[in-house]
Amino acid sequence: MARPMQVARYWRHFSEKYRLIGGKCENGHVHFPKRPVCPVCGSKNIEEVQLSGKGKVISWTIVRNPPSGFEYYKPYPLALVELEEGPIVLAQLTDVEPDEIDFGMEVEVVTRKLREFEEDGIILYGYKFRPPVE
């Protein structure tokens, strides 16, 4: 289990997990998270790109027997969301009832608490997706 000493482990992913920064190669292939080599063309010339956080649900599940550390939140919906820029992102859905979730449902990114560790532990925040709020 992660201990407070592991703060750096989570801190180093702030740009992706708080701002949804991905990668874009010189040939325009967008991916998330940013990688050292483009999985499509092999280019190593990759720059950061801000993703819009808008996308569609392409598949989902309801996690009823979660990994330890997530028991408090069960059951929770988890989905694959295809962003409008192309990449697919795995994340929890929030502000939605399980039976409202459907293929192609439009969603937008929000920052939420993912979990917290015991008493003096750290709290993890990151992206979740919800139906768009006007």
Binding site: P39, I58, T61, L90
Partner: protein, 386 residues
């Protein structure tokens, strides 16, 4: 080029072994294999295991098991490739023999999963996924497979009932295997009425958390002759292949293609000089029913989108065209993760020697396929009667 043959195979029953620890299970399976081969020493040991550090706080399994089995100061290492650790360990053993560096190699696969809490087991199994981008979000391993299953059902128009047929087949065969964890046949309703673990995966779509160990002894035909092992007890490892795919499911180019399995199978078929039509039985990685369907497609037995159709058409039973999971598969025999590739190997050996409890008549060639991660690390091995 040298050839590699299996001359001994052994295993422990799969189950909840409350009285036996990891080392006890491994040594028991290893001794069974050595006795079966009639050897009392080996040149090296390869241990297939995935999660000993997490489940029982023990790494360095090469030293632990070789030491405990009294094998002397031989080289011994653990091979880890998630749930495909066993299949990968067999391949490392074969490579050692084929290279000429070692003549008699022992491979043992072992996993001890029931010494901890179930939710911790769920966490540890998710270590095979991408920790930062999957487990971070609370994705269990079952959940990742559930995302694939729902997408498969939607894309090709299958129902939960259709996929349940893989479990029914596995349990029917497992009922005859004295080493299987579950020895009772089930009906489609048993699957459909079981609770959801991660919708649409239900308890009976998934393999159980359990303990077990299995082992084989590998050598060359020349050495086998020298050791006095009768030829009818040799099983050739005729082909093998291994490949990876993106560890993160979301990064997959196509969610419904096990590309690593396809590449691994192509390599194995080429090395063995056979095609899917020449295989008499298939031990595929049915950790979840959806993986059975996708595996049949990836290894060239079914067209894309038609893996589940084979089950619907009744083609996967022992006496049908494409017998799979002849000793229960991961679903009914059990899936002690790092040991599974070795159970599959031992079962292939029994089929090819004509000693399987549910025997495929005149089996000459068999294929095992072992998946690590959500399709991210896959081995395919092809075995042939000598």
């Amino acid at each position: 080029m040298r050839k590699a043959v299996i001359i001994g195979a052994g295993m422990t029953p799969v189950g909840e072994h409350w009285k036996l620890g990891l080392r006890d299970l491994a040594v028991e399976a290893l001794f069974n294999a050595m006795e079966d081969a009639g050897v009392d020493k080996v040149d090296s040991l390869y241990v297939g295991n995935m999660l000993s550090g997490s489940f029982v706080e023990q790494e360095n399994l090469g030293a632990l098991i070789a030491d405990w089995a009294g094998l002397g100061n031989i080289p011994a290492v653990k091979v880890e490739a998630a749930c495909a650790s066993g299949g990968a360990a067999v391949q490392e053993g074969v490579k050692a023999v084929l290279s000429g560096l070692e003549d008699v190699v022992a491979v043992v696969g072992v996993e001890k999963m029931t010494d901890g809490w179930p939710s911790d087991a769920t966490r540890y199994l998710a270590y095979a996924a991408d920790a930062e981008w999957e487990l971070f979000h609370g994705a269990s391993f079952v959940a990742l497979n559930a995302l694939v299953m729902r997408y498969y059902m939607k894309t090709y128009g299958y129902t939960e009932e259709d996929l349940a047929l893989f479990s029914v087949n596995a349990h029917a065969n497992g009922a005859k295997n004295p080493y299987a964890m579950f020895k009772r046949p089930i009906k489609v309703d048993t699957v459909l009425n079981s609770p959801y673990v991660a919708d649409p995966i239900k308890l009976f779509d998934a393999s159980p958390v359990c303990d077990g160990a299995a082992s084989v002894i590998i050598t060359t035909p020349e050495k086998a002759r020298e050791l006095g092992v009768p030829k009818e007890r040799w099983v050739e490892i005729a082909g093998m292949g291994r490949a990876i795919d993106t560890i993160n499911l979301a990064n997959r180019e196509d969610l419904l293609t096990l590309r690593a399995a396809r590449i691994a199978a192509e390599k194995a078929y080429k090395m063995a000089g056979v095609g899917p039509e020449d295989i008499d039985f298939f031990e595929i990685h049915d950790a979840f029913t959806i993986m059975a369907a996708l595996s049949l497609e990836a290894i060239g037995v079914a067209k894309k989108g038609e893996g589940a159709k084979l089950a619907k058409e009744g083609q996967i039973a022992i006496d049908a065209g494409y017998p799979i999971q002849t000793m229960g598969g991961l679903k009914a025999r059990g899936h002690p993760v790092g040991a599974t590739g070795l159970y599959q190997t031992v079962e292939a050996v029994l089929q090819l020697r004509g000693e399987a409890p549910s025997q495929v008549p005149d089996a000459e060639v068999g294929l095992t396929q072992n998946i690590g991660g959500t399709g991210s690390n896959i081995t395919v091995n092809i075995f042939r009667r000598v």
